[in-house]
Structure formats: structure tokens, C-alpha cells
């Protein structure tokens, strides 16, 4: 990915418009949001839960086998001929549990995968709805981070944590139902300790939570510090300030100390579980043993005496009773991560993340509604464009504040070449964004050939050549066909010719198939700018907006761009945001903006007649 110019002077103006502010949702809202997303998982989550429940039934067979074998050799004193079925059951039940646990994992992945895919689609659709203006205000990396990393971080939540929350309730209940009829005292020991576990976990969890948030921040800070030094290595060396190894280690150690402070508390919650598991096994063993010795007589139903098989069966099940809770603890971090992601993503998608696509207007930033259009739509033609008392305010502005643009009235005839000048912040970029439909007018109307437009010009009517040329990694042809997907190779060559890139094309061994972008053929600033122009030629819209098309180019490149602009302007209307005298000479009319208002609108006397070059 390359962008070949720096510092669009549109940036400060855009920076004033802020994110659609919403109060960050609390945990409850985040959980509900995550729950509403779960629908996209289809039947897979149920399958995952079913597998785990079936596995519990198989566990009963496994426990029976162990108990039966022990009873056989220790009490009944029988041989292999009587015990081989139990041995076979033991092997088979473990194998079956393995298969079920494998299937459960697979189902979890399927569920999580469809949820992640659906959410990602929605986010990308939503970005287009929010428009390029909104996207440009975001940190580029943080958007990709949201769509990619944050969505990815939901995996463990849907694959492991969410099914486990169901199982943590179901499996212990199931085991209680099995143990109680066998021995009510043993059942009671389990039933009494079980509710204590979540209570203790919650108590410890509350204390650990705040600290674990700090730990996340610390980790983030440590990672950023390392990356910061790595990316700034060149600067450090230039100023003879490298040798930061010890500093890197010191920061990591500071991180370690703070992390350990968190972990000392966080591990307590899992220790509580360990403790209850261990204590209840010990209690069960002691109770059952004393029962055998006749010291404790209660616990059995009726007169049937407790045998070793039953006692061992209960003992083997005891740790499994707490196992689902322990697993829930293992996946607990997934919950924290998912809630953090939800808190971040919910304001973008709204509270019903899977709602069907709708064009929503967020605080004045208009949803971009440009659809895939054929270039043929330009036959609609442009005769004249009128702005009537247009005013634009950015979302961060108060309704009664001075608008970023306007009130402004303007009439533009087809074929005119107009230079728009004004200091930075005078409203030039806002005018451009208005025409492109990236921002809507808060007052006034925009007319195309006398018909009012709701937001911006229709796609196919308008092209934009900015200071930055977006080069996508792909072939040169791919990069041109952005503007016209079905253009023939000869049309591409014609456009390159018009943009004065034909000789460059011929110098490329792979021609139109040359790869551009990251790792591909590098482009100079002038070449990139002319590539933008070639796209404009291909798109063939009657109105072309240009934002300082020769900024940061050397004289020779500038001359070539200007020559190409002359060709581009031959049968099109051009609006040029510029200060350069060389570009002013292309125009017949100059509009100067000052604080969003029209300061000057005059013909340029020395303008050459059109077609002259």
C-alpha cells in the first residue's frame, strides 16, 4: 500500500468533525450486544453443547468401568473373564469422549467463524455508509484493527466461553441427578459446595477485574513502547541515541511487576475452585471410608448398603462436577476481551449489530450511497450546477455556529474551468466534500440541471483527483479498472496516453500486468498523480474535482500533469482547488473563499482559450 503524497491540507478541516459520539455501553449492554450477534452462529453452538452433554453421559460409563474393575479385584476377587467387558468399556468410553470433545471444538469453531464473518461484513458495509469522511477521521490502523483483530478476538468467546456458560450450569446438575439417588449424603456434599464456588469466584473476580484492566493497558503500553523504538530506530541512530536494549528490558520488567500484582489476585479465583474441588474430594473420600468402617451410618436410601463400586463411582465423578466451572475460568479472559471489543464496536454498528443494511444519517455525515454504476450514466449530462444558499456544518459544530462553508450561492456552467482558492480552513475542502456527497448541506439546496439533489452528485457524474493517489496492490490494469471495471486494454492504454504515461507503460516489461503497491513497481509522485488522471479519463465523468493536483511535484512532473489536465478539460467541467499560477492559467474563472463565504468570483483575463496547449 502506498500513498504517494503527504499532508493533504484537507486534514485539519476534517479533524474538526468528530466521531459519532455515543455513551460507551456498560457491561450489560455489551453482553446483550454479544448475545444478539450469536444468532449468526446458526445451529453449531447447540451442537457444541450437545456434544459436551453426551460426553458427560459417556463419562458415567467410564466411571462405572473404573468402579466395577476395582470392586471386582478388591472385593469380589473375580478374574479377567468376568472383568474384560469393563476393560473394554473403559477404553471405548475414553475414545468416544475424545471424539465428542473433538466434535465440540469443531462445532465451536464453525459457530464462531460464521459469527465473525457476518460481523466483519456488517462493519465494512457500515464504513461505506458512514462515508469516506468518517473513515478518514479514524486512525487507519485502528479501523483495520477493529475489522480484523477485534472481530478475531471474539473467536474464543463464541467457540469456548459462551457454550461453556451453559455447560457450567447443566453438567453439574446432571451429575447431581445421578449421585443423589445413589447416596444422598454425597449428593449433599456436592450440592452444598457447588453454589459457594461461583460466589467466591465473583468476590475474587470483582477485585481482580479492575486490576486486569490495568494489566491490559500495561501490555498494550509495553507493546507500543517496543514498536515505537523499533520504528524510530533510524531517528535514534541519527541522533546517536540508540543502545536502548536496557531500556527495553526495564520497561518489560516494570510491566512484569505490575502484571504479577494483578495475577496474584487473579489466580486466587482459580485457587478457590481448586480448593473446593480438592476439599469435596477429600470430604467424599473420608465420608465414604468412614461409612464403610461403620463410623458414619447415614446417607444411603433405605436398607441397601453402600458397596465399593458405588462409592468409587461417586468419587470418580466428583472432580468432573467442578470441571465445567474450571473450564469456564480458563476461558474467562475471552469474556473480558469480547466485552472490550463489543464496547468498541457497538457504537459503530448500533445496538442491533445484525440489522439489515440501511442508509443512516449520523450527525450530518451522509451515508455514501454511490452504487456500482456503469460509466454510461454520464449520458445524463451536466448542463449546469447551482448551489443555493448552501451551508455546511460538521457534526462537532453547534447548530448556530458559523458554518464551515456558506451561506454560499454559486452557478457553474458545463465546460467551465474554475479555480477555487482560499486559505486553509476557508471551506474549499468542505465544498469539495459536499459535491462528492461525503457531507450534506445543513441549509440550502444543490441543483443539477435545475433538479434539486439530496446529497452530492450522482456517481458517474463526478470524479475526484486528490493530492494522494491510492495505489492498491494489484496490477496496473487493476488499478486503472477501479474507475471503469469493464474497460478494454486499449481503453486503458488510451487513458494512459492521455495522462502522459504511455512511454512509462512501454518501459515496463510486464506492461499493464505490472504489479503496483507494496513490493511492486514503485511510482514517483508525478507518475502516481498522472495515474489518478488516467482514472479520471477512464471514468469519463463530466465534472472533475481536483485538489492541488500538482502539489509536491517537481517542475517537469508538474508540466506533464498540466498538459494532461488540459486534455482532461477539453470536454469536461473542472473545479480546481489550487494556488499555483501554472494551474490558474488553465482556468477562465476564479472563486476565492474566505471563512466559508464567497470573497471573490471573477473571470481570469489572461486565461487561454480552451483547447490551446
Amino acid at each position: 500500500m502506498t500513498r504517494t503524497a503527504t499532508s493533504p491540507d484537507t486534514a485539519p478541516a476534517l479533524a474538526t468533525a468528530s466521531l459519532p459520539e455515543q455513551t460507551p455501553p456498560d457491561d450489560f449492554v455489551a453482553r446483550r450486544w454479544l448475545e444478539s450477534l450469536a444468532r449468526a452462529g446458526g445451529r453449531w453452538p447447540q451442537l457444541a453443547i450437545l456434544c459436551a452433554l453426551l460426553s458427560t453421559f459417556v463419562l458415567l460409563a467410564q466411571a462405572w468401568a473404573i468402579a466395577h474393575l476395582t470392586q471386582g479385584v478388591a472385593i469380589d476377587r473375580v478374574g479377567l473373564e468376568a472383568l474384560w467387558p469393563a476393560i473394554a468399556v473403559l477404553a471405548a468410553s475414553l475414545s468416544l469422549r475424545g471424539a465428542l470433545s473433538g466434535l465440540r471444538g469443531y462445532a465451536g469453531t464453525r459457530a464462531s467463524q460464521s459469527i465473525r464473518r457476518r460481523l466483519r461484513e456488517r462493519l465494512l458495509e457500515r464504513f461505506a455508509e458512514l462515508g469516506p469522511l468518517w473513515v478518514r477521521r479514524q486512525h487507519r490502523a485502528s479501523l483495520a484493527n477493529r475489522v480484523w483483530d477485534q472481530v478475531e478476538s471474539l473467536h474464543s468467546y463464541y467457540a469456548d466461553f459462551r457454550p461453556q456458560t451453559r455447560l457450567a450450569g447443566l453438567i453439574p446438575l446432571l451429575l447431581l441427578l445421578v449421585v443423589f439417588p445413589l447416596n444422598w449424603a454425597a449428593g449433599l456434599i456436592l450440592a452444598v459446595t457447588a453454589p459457594l464456588v461461583p460466589i467466591f469466584m465473583i468476590l475474587v473476580g470483582i477485585a481482580a477485574r479492575k486490576r486486569s484492566e490495568e494489566q491490559f493497558q500495561e501490555m498494550d503500553r509495553m507493546g507500543r513502547h517496543f514498536m515505537d523504538l523499533l520504528t524510530g530506530l533510524k531517528t535514534l541512530k541519527l541522533f546517536g541515541a540508540a543502545r536502548r536494549g536496557p531500556q527495553v528490558e526495564a520497561v518489560s520488567h516494570a510491566f512484569r511487576k505490575r502484571t504479577m500484582r494483578v495475577l496474584r489476585l487473579a489466580f486466587l479465583s482459580s485457587t478457590v475452585l481448586e480448593f473446593f474441588t480438592a476439599v469435596s474430594i477429600a470430604l467424599l473420600a473420608v465420608y465414604l471410608g468412614f461409612h464403610f468402617l461403620g463410623h458414619l451410618q447415614f446417607g444411603t436410601w433405605g436398607d441397601s448398603p453402600l458397596d465399593l463400586e458405588t462409592a468409587l463411582f461417586i468419587l470418580v465423578l466428583a472432580p468432573e462436577f467442578y470441571q465445567p466451572l474450571r473450564e469456564l475460568g480458563v476461558h474467562y479472559h475471552a469474556k473480558a476481551e469480547a466485552e472490550a471489543a463489543a464496547t468498541d464496536l457497538a457504537p459503530i454498528l448500533g445496538n442491533s449489530p445484525l440489522a439489515d443494511r440501511e442508509n443512516t444519517e449520523i450527525d450530518g455525515t451522509v451515508a455514501a450511497t454511490h452504487q456500482e454504476t456503469s460509466v454510461a450514466s454520464s449520458h445524463l449530462g451536466l448542463q449546469h450546477l447551482t448551489l443555493e444558499d448552501i451551508a455546511v456544518r460538521y457534526p462537532s459544530q453547534y447548530p448556530d455556529s458559523t458554518p464551515a462553508l456558506g451561506p454560499l450561492s454559486l452557478h457553474i456552467n458545463a465546460g467551465e474551468h474554475i479555480a477555487i482558492t482560499g486559505a486553509s480552513g476557508s471551506g474549499k475542502s468542505t465544498l469539495l466534500n459536499l459535491l462528492l456527497g461525503f457531507v450534506s448541506a445543513s441549509d440550502g439546496l444543490l441543483y443539477l440541471n435545475g433538479h434539486p439533489l439530496s446529497h452530492g452528485l450522482p456517481a458517474g457524474m463526478i470524479t475526484w483527483v486528490g493530492q494522494d493517489t491510492v495505489i492498491l496492490s494489484g496490477t496496473l490494469a487493476d488499478n486503472l479498472r477501479i474507475a471503469h471495471p469493464h474497460a478494454s486494454d486499449s481503453a486503458l492504454e488510451a487513458a494512459l496516453n492521455n495522462a502522459d504515461l504511455l512511454s512509462w507503460l512501454h518501459s515496463l516489461p510486464a506492461g499493464l500486468a505490472t504489479r503496483l503497491g507494496e513490493g511492486g513497481q514503485p511510482l514517483s509522485g508525478g507518475q502516481a498523480r498522472r495515474l489518478s488522471l488516467a482514472r479520471a479519463f477512464l471514468h469519463d465523468a463530466p465534472l472533475v474535482l481536483l485538489d492541488e493536483p500538482t502539489a509536491s511535484l517537481d517542475a517537469e512532473s508538474e508540466a506533464r500533469v498540466i498538459a494532461a489536465l488540459q486534455r482532461l478539460g477539453e470536454n469536461r467541467t473542472l473545479l480546481l482547488l489550487t494556488h499555483r499560477p501554472e494551474l490558474l492559467s488553465l482556468c477562465q474563472r476564479r472563486i476565492r473563499l474566505e471563512e466559508g463565504r464567497l470573497a471573490e468570483d471573477c473571470p481570469l483575463s489572461d486565461a487561454p482559450t480552451r483547447g490551446e496547449s
Binding site: M1, A74, F255, G289, I462, V470, S473
Partner: protein, 603 residues
């Protein structure tokens, strides 16, 4: 825009499985922290012994009491105090051991990670930044960061759990071995097979997928970043919807790999449970044969195994398996650690690092005259600078003009020794650049490259990188002279404010000027500036130029530019085109037909 071509390279790459020896330097790092890790492993062993012991002793206790309960005499003779106390003690030992084990292994691991980061940083630091950031590797730094994280998981997820699993197998073996060496052997073999073979299979079969998955994910992420960047154009040209389907298609490929991994994981799960089942069955079979009355009859009761122990054996093996269960998944991810390690090793091995002289060979420059003789520089096959000769007397100001891509920035990289010339020489004060100590070299040049990096530190600290002794007043005055006074006034805490991520609180032109300020602040006798006025309007450019010339009074200055602005204020002018030095003159000696003269006239 079709994803296929950029996939192919990565895929062939991913198929080459990096050898395990790539991990050697990182394994060696563990030795440094063997204290903490050793205690952690010991506690893990104790915990596992306690956990399996608890279950096993409970099982034995039940069996023993049940047998004793059969006769009244045995009931009364039965010493239940010792086993009952043992059960309680083990329950406590298990709880405390687990807590201690987790704390110590985490402490050890975090210490390990601190050493790892330092080691990696020190390995990367001497490498030439120009070579690291060479064309097409813009994301290299990000990738290096991700690789360091991947190596974290080597310790946290692979090595430490494997160590604990090993302890578990030994614990179970020891426990059983006290009573029945043969069964202990079976248990150890079975558990080793489960804990060794299955994770190994998961790694062997899955590492290709793990690397493909990672490669595909990072491609997808890069593509996403790029398309989001181009959202404006793509929406204007009505291409966003088709971009989305392109992204969805590429994601489907990645999802396939993810599912293949999930299937493999499911298989590994089944296989390890089945092996466990077979191990338990074998122990039960041998146990029953040795414990059955017929066996005791044959061996006259002496060597026959006590039947009450069977539960202990089975439960001990089940307990040890708990430590083995997470290994296949961890080892499946080993592919990612390996490719991260091999990439880091490759970067270290293949990136040139400039060698600076030590001891005898160090020379001290005499004055600050700079001379380039017949300097040629290549980037791979392309010659960037071709036999350039240029000299600059101490205190002279030179403006170096040339169109984009004429090799001007490369010249700065060569002067900073980030890039080695193919031939020719550079001398500073009569001494070859290669004979200068790094500190002398860095103290001689104040460089402002095209891209200004702002560190996550206050603006003042960012500036003081160049001169730690500069006062706040000096900094403020310098920034004001470069037209950044208004910007500074808007910062909430003035010079003490922090830049946000990537220096976004400054526009491109402001960031450039900030970089210029940093270079001008350096007391170095030679100032090298790369396009200091880029992205500035004319008035600001004039102001910046005035500030530069004022600050460089008495110092040498090479200013690289493509804008013929304010050139009459330079003593020397030079024109660089396609790697050749075309003109080298003073404003007064320019002839009317010179390109420089025409360029100046245009300004």
C-alpha cells in the same frame, strides 16, 4: 486486485517448514531463568503429585475401608487416621501448590520475555535501518513486532506446559512404580505416547496450516488496511461493493484453513483420548491379571498385587493426562513460533550492519570538510548514484536540486552509513567515513530525513533527543522561528504534551517542520536536510528557509529539494539527475542556459 498472485509467493514460502533448530537461541535464553522456571516446574510436580495422589489415595482409601468393612476385626484394626489426614493434607498441598506454581511460572516467563525483548532489540538495533525499510518491506517493522509476540507464546503456550506435562508423566510413573514397576512402565510408555506422539503429529501435520493461516490472515489484514485507505476513491468509483466481495472471497480461503485446523485438532483430541483409553485398559488388564486370585495362587500370594491399588493406578494416569491434554493444540501453533523465529533469525543474518572501527583503526577527522569522490551507489540492480564527486568546505551551504527519484535521499543514507556505496569514497575532515567511530559520525551530522518519527514521549523530549541540554525557551524559540508557534500554543500542555499515535496531532507539513527543528537543535557541524519545505505553502516555506539559514550560520548545510525556492540564498547549487551530478555552481557563476538558472527563474 486479485488476491491470487500475492498469495502464491507466501504459500510456497509457508510450505517450507522451518527446522526446529531455529528455536535454539530462544531455548538457550531459558537457561538464564532456570531458577524461577525450575521452582515452577518443581511446584507443578508437587501439585500434580498431590492432585493425582489425592484422587488415587482416596480411591485406595475407599477400597481399603470397603475391604476392611467386610470383617469386624479388620474394621477395628483399620488405621483410618493416617490416610484420612493424608487426603486432607494432599487437598491443601494441591491448592497451595497450584497457586505457587502459577505465580512462579508466570514470574519466570515474564522475566524471560523481558530478556527476549532486550535480546531481540539489541539484535535488530545494529542493522541498517535503510536496508530494513527498503522498498516493499514497509510492514517489516510491524511484522517484527508480531513475531516477538509469537515468540512469547513459544514459552507461555508450548515450552512451559510441555515441561509441566513431562513432570506429570514422571509423577504418575513414580506413584505407580512404588507398587508395581511393570505397570509403571506401561503407564509411562502410554502417557509418553499420548503426550509426545499426538502433539508431534499436530505439529508435523499442522504447522504448514498454521503458517498458511497466519500468512493468509496478515495478507487479508494488509489488504483491508489498503482498501480502507482507498475507501474514498472506491466509493466514488462505485467499487466498494465489489471490493467487499473480493475481501469475503479471500476470507473464505482463510476460513477453510481455519476449519482444516479445527478438524485436525478434533482428530488429535480423539487420538489422545483413545491412546489414554488403551493405556488405562492395558493397566487394568495387567492389573487384573496380577491381582486376580488365580495369580496370587500361582505366586503363593507373595508377589501378587494388592487389589485395592487398582483404583489408585487408574486415577493416577487419569490425573496425569490432565496436564497432557492441552499439548496438541499448543504444538499445532508451534509452526507460527517457528516461522517467527526463522524470520527474525533471517532478518538478523541477511540485513547488513555497518561495521564501525574500534581501537587502532579509529581516526579523528581534522575539520569538517566533506568530500565525495567518484561515489557510486546501487540498490540491487539499479544504480542510484553514478560517480558523483562533490566537496563541501566547512561552513558552506549547498542546495542539492533534482527531480523525485534522482538519488538525493540515497545520498543522505550513504552519509549516515545506512547504505554502503558500491564504489568511491567519502571523507570527512580528510578521514574516510568508515574510519570514524559511530559516536564521531553521529556527532558530525544533524540529519532530518523525509519521514519524521515522533516517539511516545513529550514534544520536548522528542526535540531533546538532538540536544539533551536545550532549555524550554530555546525549544520554543526554535519552533516559533519555523512557524510552529501557533501550533505549540494550541497544545494543552505546551512542550510537555504528548503526540498521539503516529504523530497525528501534527499535519504533514507541521511534522516535517518538527523534524527540521530537531535536526537544527543538534549541535553537529554539518546539517543534512531532506525536503524541509515539502507540503508547505510559499509563505511558510520562506519562513522555514530563513530559520534554517539562520540556524546554520557557521555550519555546513546540504539541503535537498526539488522546489527552486530561495536558491539565491545558497552559496552553492548542484543539480542531480538520474544519479549523475549535472551541475555544480554558485548563483553568480550560473550561465543563462543552465537548467538551474531556468529553474530559479521559474520560482
Amino acid at each position: 486486485m486479485n488476491p491470487s498472485p500475492d498469495n502464491s509467493g507466501a504459500e510456497t514460502h509457508a510450505d517450507a517448514r522451518p527446522a526446529l533448530r531455529e528455536l535454539r537461541p530462544y531455548l538457550a535464553l531459558m537457561r538464564e531463568h532456570r531458577g524461577w522456571l525450575g521452582v515452577g516446574a518443581l511446584l507443578a510436580l508437587i501439585t500434580l503429585l498431590a492432585a493425582t495422589g489425592l484422587l488415587a489415595l482416596s480411591g485406595w482409601f475407599l477400597s481399603a475401608t470397603a475391604v476392611a468393612g467386610l470383617s469386624v476385626a479388620a474394621t477395628q484394626a483399620f488405621n483410618f487416621f493416617t490416610p484420612a489426614a493424608g487426603v486432607r493434607g494432599l487437598a491443601l498441598a494441591r491448592t497451595a501448590g497450584r497457586y505457587g506454581e502459577r505465580l512462579t511460572t508466570h514470574e519466570g516467563t515474564l522475566r524471560l520475555l523481558a530478556s527476549l525483548r532486550r535480546r531481540l532489540f539489541e539484535a535488530i538495533e545494529p542493522l541498517s535501518p535503510a536496508a530494513l525499510q527498503h522498498a516493499g518491506q514497509g510492514e517489516l517493522m510491524t511484522r517484527l513486532g508480531a513475531d516477538v509476540d509469537a515468540l512469547d507464546s513459544l514459552y507461555v503456550r508450548v515450552l512451559i506446559p510441555s515441561l509441566v506435562a513431562l513432570c506429570a508423566v514422571l509423577a504418575a510413573g513414580t506413584l505407580i512404580g512404588i507398587f508395581a514397576p511393570l505397570l509403571a512402565a506401561v503407564a509411562i510408555i502410554g502417557l509418553t505416547l499420548t503426550g509426545g506422539l499426538v502433539p508431534w503429529l499436530a505439529w508435523w501435520r499442522g504447522s504448514g496450516d498454521a503458517m498458511r493461516h497466519q500468512a493468509s490472515a496478515s495478507q487479508l489484514r494488509a489488504r483491508l488496511l489498503e482498501r480502507l485507505h482507498g475507501l474514498g476513491e472506491l466509493v466514488i468509483y462505485g467499487r466498494w461493493a465489489s471490493e467487499l466481495s473480493g475481501l469475503a472471497e479471500q476470507q473464505a480461503t482463510r476460513d477453510h484453513i481455519e476449519l482444516a485446523q479445527a478438524r485436525r485438532q478434533a482428530f488429535a483430541n480423539w487420538l489422545s483420548h483413545t491412546l489414554l483409553g488403551l493405556t488405562l485398559a492395558a493397566i487394568a488388564l495387567l492389573g487384573v491379571m496380577q491381582m486376580s486370585p488365580s495369580a496370587s495362587a500361582v505366586t503363593a500370594g507373595e508377589s501378587a498385587l494388592d487389589g485395592r491399588l487398582l483404583a489408585l493406578f487408574l486415577l493416577a494416569v487419569l490425573g496425569a493426562f490432565e496436564a497432557l491434554a492441552p499439548l496438541p493444540l499448543a504444538w499445532q501453533g508451534l509452526g507460527r513460533c517457528l516461522s517467527a523465529a526463522s524470520r527474525l533469525n533471517r532478518v538478523q543474518a541477511n540485513t547488513p550492519a555497518p561495521q564501525f572501527p574500534v581501537g587502532q583503526s579509529v581516526q579523528t577527522p581534522d575539520g569538517h570538510d566533506l568530500a565525495l569522490q567518484q561515489l557510486s551507489v546501487r540498490h540491487g540492480e539499479t544504480t542510484v548514484l553514478d560517480s558523483v564527486s562533490l566537496s563541501l568546505a566547512s561552513g558552506e551551504h549547498l542546495a542539492l536540486l533534482g527531480p523525485s527519484g534522482s538519488g538525493k535521499s540515497t545520498l543522505l543514507d550513504v552519509l549516515s552509513r545506512f547504505h554502503a556505496p558500491a564504489s568511491g569514497s567519502i571523507t570527512l575532515g580528510g578521514v574516510p567515513l568508515e574510519s570514524l567511530e559511530e559516536s564521531t559520525l553521529r556527532a558530525s551530522f544533524a540529519v532530518c530525513p523525509q519521514d519524521t518519527h515522533l516517539f511516545c514521549a513529550s514534544f520536548a523530549d522528542n526535540l531533546r533527543l538532538a540536544d539533551p541540554t536545550a532549555s524550554d525557551a530555546t525549544l520554543t524559540a526554535l519552533l516559533e522561528s519555523l512557524g510552529l508557534g501557533e501550533w505549540l500554543a494550541r497544545q494543552p500542555k505546551g512542550l510537555a504534551s504528548f503526540p498521539d499515535e503516529g504523530g497525528r496531532s501534527l499535519s504533514g507539513g507541521q511534522l516535517r517542520r518538527f523534524g527540521v527543528a530537531r535536526a537544527l537543535l543538534s549541535p553537529a557541524p554539518i546539517v543534512l536536510l531532506d525536503e524541509p519545505c515539502e507540503g508547505l505553502d510559499r509563505a511558510s516555506a520562506e519562513q522555514v528557509m530563513t530559520a534554517i539559514l539562520a540556524a546554520c550560520d557557521g555550519r555546513s548545510l546540504i539541503m535537498i529539494t526539488h522546489q527552486p525556492l530561495g536558491l539565491e540564498r545558497f552559496a552553492r547549487l548542484a543539480l542531480l539527475e538520474e544519479g549523475h551530478l549535472k551541475e555544480d555552481a554558485t548563483p553568480t557563476t550560473l550561465t543563462a542556459d543552465s537548467r538551474l538558472a531556468r529553474l530559479m527563474a521559474r520560482a
